[in-house]
Symmetry: C2
Subunit: 161 residues, 2 copies
C-alpha cells in the first residue's frame, strides 16, 4: 500500500501531497464528489463524518463535521472555485475550531495506465498557519483517509491482481 | 492624497496592501459590495468595467470584465468564502487571461476616528504567480482604482475639511 508523499518546505506557506491509487481517474473523482462515498473515507477512522452540505459546482459551498466517540464535533467548510471535474478541483477550506484562517486547496487527478495519482497543493494565509496545519497531524489524518479510500475503491471496483 | 502601501517580501507568495480613506467603514464596505458603486472605481481609469455577476454572500460567485478603448475585454472571476461584512471579506480571484492561477484575497476594513484603513492580504499558489502579479503593475492599477474610490466617496459623503 503506497503511502502519501508530503512536501512542506520551510519558510513558504505550501503543503503538497501525492498518493497513487490503483483506479481510474473518474472513479476517484466520484469518491471525492459524491457525498455518499465521501463519508466512507474522508479523515481518520476514529471520526464519524456527517455532511451538512456538499454542492459540487462553481460557487457551491460545502460543510462537513467529524464527530468523535465522545460526541465532540469538528466542523469544516469552504466553497468551490471553478467547476470541479475529473481533471481537478479548487476549493477554500476553513476549520471552524480556529476561525479566520482559510486555505486554498487545489486537487488534481493524474491518470496513467489505469492508475491515478491524486495530488493536492494547499496554500495558507501565513507560514504560521501552514506550520500549525502540519503540526496538527494533517498528513497522518489524510493518509489514514486515503487508506480508507483505497479500501472503498477495492469494494467499488475490484482490481484483478 | 495617501497612496497605497504595498508589501511583497521576496520568496513568499504574499502581497499586502494598505490605504487609508477619509470615510467610515460602512461606506467603504458599500463601495466594495454594491455593483453600482464598484463599477465607478475598481481598476484603472482607462477601462470600462462591466459586472457579469456579483453575488455578495457566502458561496456567492462574482465575475467582471474590464474593457479597453480598443474593445478588448479582460475577465476576472471568483467566489466569496464566508459572509462578507464591514469587518472584512474573503474571496478567490482568477484572471481569465491566464487561467489556472487562483489567489485567495482577504480584505479588512479598520475604522478609527471616522477614517478607515483598507488592508488586503493576497496569497498565491506559487511565488512565481505572486511575482507575475507584482510585475503586471497590479499595485499601480489598484492605487489608481483607490484614487477613483476616494473621489467616489467624496461625491457620496462630502467631508468637511
Amino acid at each position: 500500500m503506497a503511502k502519501i508523499e508530503v512536501t512542506a518546505e520551510p519558510g513558504v506557506p505550501f503543503i503538497d501531497t501525492a498518493r497513487q491509487f490503483d483506479a481510474p481517474r473518474d472513479l476517484l473523482f466520484r469518491a471525492f464528489t459524491d457525498p455518499e462515498l465521501l463519508v466512507q473515507w474522508l479523515g481518520p477512522r476514529k471520526y464519524t463524518m456527517k455532511i451538512d452540505r456538499y454542492d459540487v459546482r462553481d460557487g457551491g459551498s460545502w460543510r462537513y463535521l467529524h464527530q468523535g466517540a465522545d460526541g465532540n464535533e469538528f466542523g469544516f467548510h469552504g466553497v468551490f472555485h471553478g467547476t470541479p471535474s475529473p481533471e481537478g478541483m479548487v476549493q477554500t477550506f476553513e476549520f471552524e475550531g480556529v476561525p479566520g484562517h482559510v486555505s486554498l486547496d487545489a486537487i488534481v487527478f493524474e491518470e496513467r495506465d489505469g492508475r491515478t495519482v491524486v495530488r493536492s497543493h494547499s496554500v495558507y494565509q501565513s507560514v504560521e498557519d501552514r506550520d500549525a496545519m502540519v503540526q496538527s497531524g494533517m498528513a497522518e489524518g489524510m493518509d489514514e483517509g486515503y487508506d480508507r479510500l483505497e479500501e472503498l475503491i477495492a469494494r467499488l471496483a475490484p482490481v484483478h491482481s
